[in-house]
Amino acid sequence: MSKPLFIKLLLLVIVFAVVPFALEGLGKGYYYQIATLAFVFMLLAASLHLVTGVAGLLHLGHASLYGVGAYVAALLGSKYGIGFTYGLPLAGIGAAFVAFLVALPTMRLMSIYFAVATLGIGQMLFLVFQNWVDVTNGPNGVMLFDGIDLFGYAINSELGIYYVVAVVAAVSILILNRLSHSYYGNALRSLREDDQCTAAMGINVTVMKIQAFVISAFFAGIAGALWAYTTGYISPNDFNFSQSILILTMVVVGGLGSLPGVLIGALLLILLPEVLRYFGDIRNIIVGLLMFGAILFLPKGLFGEVNALNFARRILGSAWSEDNSEKGIGWK
């Protein structure tokens, strides 16, 4: 067996056999909840990674697009009885559509202006969730009673829900990984490094940005739908500015531009507060200190692009190639 295949299989075995087996063995809903939460946030971080890590656009309103997905899923479910099968893709499409609308006028902005614009968009969407009472139910939130219903089969067991979430998240992350390590991803990287140069190379920078933003929103919407279906109740406060910052922190702590790093960052920031639960009141200070320490001593993130390449080369061996053949960098 070749090494890259082995690594891939190992990851698959861990996600789809070892973890569920362990969870089932522990028999605790608490761990299932954390696993689900970790998947949702890994997907969120991976989708933000496309915009912030790969394309280098600081995005401060990601949680609002996650919210759009959650609201689409929850409202379709509670008002029109559209279940998981169609609700999940529709949530992604809904978030992508909203992202497209707001992207049209704002995407030609650069650097900090882009960040400010996304902050504004995020806050506006939050105000819409909160105050457009007729549609979003306002602060009352939306309750979604039917669990996950896949092509007519109701999935109620915790293990089943875990598998659904894990499959959706894994497939989405795989797509995002392929995207960011394709020619397309390289074009986005060039945008990050020097957008004027990219434009001079004949790449339409604005279109690229809109595409990356919309794709990222699509997956954020999927993550939102997963959250809505697994929790059963959503309200505007789940999608406020601090959530955007949380997702951004995952990407930065994990390492800008490195998908494995980002996923580890997400895991870390979901698991850490849980582990620190015993510290009580000071656990958020500890999270802040760790974040500060990570930035101070690892300014490129735990696994920044460069570090991540080394890391991947070392750990994954030949699974990672950086040659100049048509495939470019990425996992074979």
Partner: protein
């Protein structure tokens, strides 16, 4: 047209605008003029308010002394913030690191981390509720002018805003240190080569900007009688919007934009439910970015 209702709303708008302007001045100095992304300014503002509050509860000094204590606390906080969250990231001074986005975003994230730590620590020490303030210190004594009512705080804030604005304009345009601030913001490496002590300039800017932020904190805290650990967030966003509208690096521009913002918010309450009034600020922000990418007053800038 000029019935008392409209006049009163205008008066409220002006006073709101001045409060935003007060916050925006220090913010613009660090963020816009020095061109350092600082997310912890809101916490400096809060620290100023708490320092003033502690002085009041400890030995009840006159108001002017309270303001100076807050100013000093803010200057100290700014110094510490620069040392902890910004200095370490200037250790690489080669050109590649200076241009690197990762390095710029490192300070963004480190200041964010600092702000989380500071806010959580304040919540731990003081609790997250509104603090009790000696009511005699509040600067909200009504003053009736014809059909409208303002408060003495409005006058105090107006005076301080004008002093800060004038002082900073003089500092930036006329004094040597102001010149070096502008030089560092324009090209840090170039300024260094010209013999400017960049570290000292940056620290100085942080001290001035944070002192002003802290002064704004105690003034607004006493104006509304509301001092609590999360108080810096909303004014921070408003100051941010005012700064962008004003053209990022222009302090007078930020002050005028803050006034526009305050007026727009108070008048908008007449036409739509108040829950949407925050929308006005964000709509202004986006409209500015889209239609006036150089800010409302056309400051020179290459690309947005």
């Amino acid at each position: 047209m000029f019935d008392p209702y409209i006049l009163q709303q205008l008066a409220i708008g002006v006073s709101l605008g001045m409060i935003y302007a007060l916050m925006a001045i220090g913010f613009t100095l660090i963020f816009g003029v020095l061109n350092v992304v600082n997310f912890a300014h809101g916490e400096v503002y809060t620290i100023g308010a708490f320092a003033g509050l502690m002085a009041i509860t400890a030995f009840a000094p006159p108001l002017l002394v309270v303001l100076f204590i807050a100013l000093a606390a803010g200057a100290f906080a700014g110094f510490g913030l620069e040392r902890l969250a910004f200095r370490p990231f200037r250790r690489f001074s080669d050109e590649a690191s200076l241009k690197s986005r990762a390095m710029r975003e490192a300070t963004l994230m480190s200041s964010l981390a600092m702000s989380i730590i500071a806010r959580e620590a304040m919540e731990l020490i003081f609790g997250s509720q509104f603090q009790s303030i000696d009511l005699a210190y509040l600067i909200n004594k009504p003053i009736e002018i014809g059909p409208i009512t303002i408060v003495n705080g409005d006058l105090i804030i107006l005076a301080i805003t004008l002093i800060m604005l004038g002082g900073l304009q003089w500092l930036l345009k006329k004094s040597p240190i102001g010149m070096s601030i502008r030089a560092v913001s324009n090209n840090a490496l170039g300024a260094k080569y010209c013999g400017i002590n960049t570290d000292r300039t940056i620290i100085f800017t942080f001290i001035i900007g944070s002192g002003m932020g802290a002064l704004a904190g105690i003034l607004v805290g006493l104006y509304y009688g509301a001092i609590f650990p999360a108080m810096g967030f909303t004014p921070g966003i408003k100051a941010f919007v005012a700064m962008v509208m004003g053209g990022l690096s222009s302090i007078p521009g930020a002050v005028v934009s803050a006034m526009i913002l305050g007026l727009a918010e108070s008048i908008s309450t007449s036409f739509m439910p108040s829950v949407w009034s925050d929308m006005v600020a964000y709509a202004f922000l986006l409209a500015t970015l889209i239609f006036f990418p150089q800010g409302l007053f056309g400051a020179r800038r290459e690309r947005v």
